[in-house]
């Protein structure tokens, strides 16, 4: 059994904080497969509970980043996946270079009430290698997942969603999805799924070792028709970044057709400083821009 070493504290504090100065080159942190007692999730060795949270958190975040990338690459709004459970993993942390994480995790379908869902709690399994370059966004991700939905069914659902979107009134007068009470009108569900798909790309691109994003709310929607029958979808979302607790408005423009790769452009608002006027919101043609921490 490999001795477990305590990793340096991960730099999870707010902006402007000094990096850990531990003069170490590379640290191998090996974790045994995680089979914790039901309901409790912490160190297996109670004598050292304080180092339990760091690797676990890192594995979770790596799994989520891998899923953002996976969902974007799959390009299928009806086959979105979310993290169910981290099963095992290990991390190599190099304070000078960054961090590499191998992780195995289970997933479940994002759509809770899918018409074509087969059986309850169908879980897929993924394994991923996620490499964070020190404080830089857009981690390099290699991820494979077992198939959760049969390809033909997925295509059918995508096409159904496509038709639903095409039938919606244009311009759409959407206030917020979900509404302030967390409710999503089933009729508006296709919009949400497509918005989530586009947001996955944005969230992957913005993820760093310390910054991790969740989609909080869709706040405005516009849809244009295009001649070649693609869905041309322009919208604004609010992303929630966990370590700073910031809410980041992002303007996203995506072009989608079932079975074709997704095209996304976006612009996210930067954090205000006390001296600046309020942030600018530009059109969709502007290439990627990152929130300034």
């Amino acid at each position: 059994m490999q001795p477990r070493r305590q990793p340096p504290p991960a730099p999870r504090s707010g902006p402007g904080n000094p990096r850990p100065t531990a003069p170490l080159l590379a640290l191998l942190l090996l974790l045994a497969p995680v089979v914790a007692p039901a309901g409790s999730r912490s160190a297996e060795d109670p004598a050292q509970p304080e180092d339990a949270g760091v690797p676990r958190r890192l594995l979770q975040q790596a799994a989520r980043a891998a899923l953002h990338f996976f969902n974007f690459r799959a390009g299928s709004p009806s086959a979105l996946r979310v993290l169910a459970e981290v099963q095992e993993g290990r991390a190599w942390i190099n304070p000078k270079e960054g961090c590499k994480v191998d992780v195995v995790f289970s997933t479940e379908r994002y759509k809770p009430e899918s018409l074509l869902q087969e059986g309850e709690g169908r879980l897929g399994k993924c394994s991923a290698r996620v490499v964070f370059k020190n404080q830089k966004p857009r981690p390099a991700i290699n991820v494979t997942c077992t198939r959760l939905i049969e390809k033909k069914k997925r295509q059918q659902e995508d096409y159904l969603l496509y038709k639903q979107m095409k039938q919606l009134k244009n311009p759409l007068e959407i206030v917020s999805i979900p509404d302030n009470h967390g409710h999503i009108d089933p009729y508006l569900r296709p919009i949400w799924d497509l918005a989530f798909l586009g947001s996955s790309y944005v969230m992957w691109e913005m993820t760093t070792q310390v910054s991790h994003y969740y989609l909080a709310q869709l706040t405005s929607v516009r849809q244009w028709k295009t001649n070649d029958d693609t869905i041309d979808f322009d919208y604004t979302v609010l992303l929630h970044e966990l370590s700073t607790q910031e809410i980041i408005p992002c303007h996203i423009h995506l072009v989608w057709y079932p079975g074709k790769p997704l095209k996304v452009k976006y612009h996210c608002q930067e954090l205000q400083t006390p001296e600046e006027a309020s942030g600018t919101e530009e059109g969709s043609a502007v290439p990627t821009e990152l929130s300034n921490f």
Binding site: S42, H181, A216, T244
Partner: protein
């Protein structure tokens, strides 16, 4: 509406009552979709003499009807009120002016008035008359919660009382519920919800918990023992200004609403404003940041109120601060990785609490110290509590883990509250059995 007979005082309801009656009937008509009163006005005309009165009576006789008298032509000294449909306004006003009849506009747009009244009625319906009709599985406004508090205290005055511990920046009351079976200065347990206003599940859980306590007292052995020896204090809306703002303008507002001269951004993160490692890592000196710690420790009235209350009381043994989301149960420190002196005890207690929680609906929580489980954060409530001598200081992050985040559907309120209660009960029981 017929005028009253000339001579003698007018019988019947007073003018105000009559107008109210009229408004109600119009609301009914409008609600039934029969009539729209947009742009209609009510004019008040003062007839100087009988000649002018008869001119007004002539209006009454016009076919098709051009006016609707609310207060008909009676005597020259009495005002005449008439509702004029929007389409007839020009004609009627010209008529009045050409005959030298002085008038004023009493109601500029009836429909607007009707809409406002209807809104007010709906609102007063929502302010329930008793807590038994209050919905525990919905999210509520600040007014609804404060109204519920008053009803709740009235209905359970044997063990519950309400204390105002201060005022928010925008001068709202800061209220605490006290659960006590008597005695003076019993050792006490503190629970706060809603310190971050966008975490709506926490207020909802707090309200359900308050009701659970009074329901189970006398029935649940553990709870009854706790209340026999200890008092419980619950602050449901720890950040009332922020909470009101999440309803009115910005659902995802986190901080309070304090404003300082020369500073462009509003609000301080109330969970970074405490006097424990203030200004350290995991808090921000940028006022525009969501984790802005404020100019100085306890600078915010919402924090100062709690500090003053707990310090003056002097006998708190446990403090639990409830947040969302992430599904975690944590203990100090947030400001550093340094373990607290009773770390082992807190670890075991958290483990037990999380297992009790899991048994209810199978929801899994992480647990550990704040800095290792969630992130480094300075100037936080539980660090201050611990440094002030409160050995059992815990912070919850309730459901979920990001699928809905802050916008947790209302259908999850009761399940969340049920499972959280089992964890709270575990912590309180341990506190009872380990006096210090």
């Amino acid at each position: 509406m017929q005028g009253t007979p000339a001579g003698g005082t007018r019988p019947g309801p007073s003018p105000m009552d009559r107008q109210t009656l009229l408004v109600f009937s119009l609301i009914l008509a409008s609600a039934l979709g029969q009539m729209n009163f947009t742009g209609d006005q009510v004019l008040r005309v003062l007839a100087k003499d009988e000649k002018q009165l008869s001119l007004l009576r002539d209006l009454e006789g016009l076919k098709p009807q051009k006016v609707d008298f609310w207060r008909g032509p009676a005597r020259p000294s009495l005002p005449v009120d008439m509702r004029v449909p929007f389409s007839e306004l020009k004609y009627i006003k010209a008529y009045l002016e050409s005959h030298g009849l002085a008038y004023s506009i009493m109601i500029k747009d009836i429909q607007v008035l009707l809409d406002e009244e209807r809104e007010a009625m709906a609102k007063s319906r929502r302010l329930e008359r008793s807590t038994s009709s209050f919905s525990y599985s919905s999210y509520h406004t600040l007014e609804e919660i404060y109204s519920w508090i008053d009803n709740f205290v009235t209905e359970h005055s044997d063990i519950v009382s309400k204390i105002q511990i201060g005022n928010s920046f925008e001068n709202r009351s800061i209220l605490v519920l006290k659960f006590s079976t008597g005695g003076s200065r019993h050792p006490a347990i503190w629970i706060d919800t809603g310190i971050h206003s966008r975490e709506w599940i926490t207020h909802a859980t707090g309200i359900w918990t308050a009701n659970k306590i009074v329901s189970d007292y006398g029935k649940d052995r553990v709870l009854t023992d706790i209340l026999k020896a200890m008092d419980i204090f619950i602050e449901l809306v720890t950040n009332p200004d922020g909470f009101a703002f999440t309803h009115s303008m910005n659902r995802l507002w986190r901080k309070n609403k304090s404003i300082r001269p020369g500073i462009f951004c509003i609000g301080v993160d109330l969970n970074r404003n405490w006097k424990s490692g203030f200004g350290g890592n995991g808090s921000n000196s940028n006022p525009c940041s969501e984790t802005y710690h404020g100019p100085s420790p306890q600078s915010e009235p919402e924090v100062a109120a709690i500090v003053n209350f707990i310090t003056a009381h002097g006998n708190f043994k446990a403090l639990i601060s409830i947040h969302s989301y992430s599904q975690m149960l944590m203990y100090p420190y947030g400001r550093s990785l340094e373990p607290v002196s009773n770390q082992r005890e807190l670890y075991d207690l958290a483990k037990d609490a999380v297992e009790a929680l899991y048994k209810v609906h199978g929801i899994e929580y992480f647990f550990g110290s704040i800095s290792t489980t969630l992130y480094v954060a300075s100037g936080i409530t539980v660090d201050w509590a611990y440094d002030s001598g409160i050995k059992y200081a815990f912070s919850f992050e309730l459901r979920d883990t990001g699928r809905y985040g802050f916008l947790l559907p209302a259908t999850q309120i009761i399940p969340t509250a049920q499972e959280t209660w089992m964890a709270l009960r575990t912590i309180m029981e341990h506190t009872l059995n380990h006096p210090y």
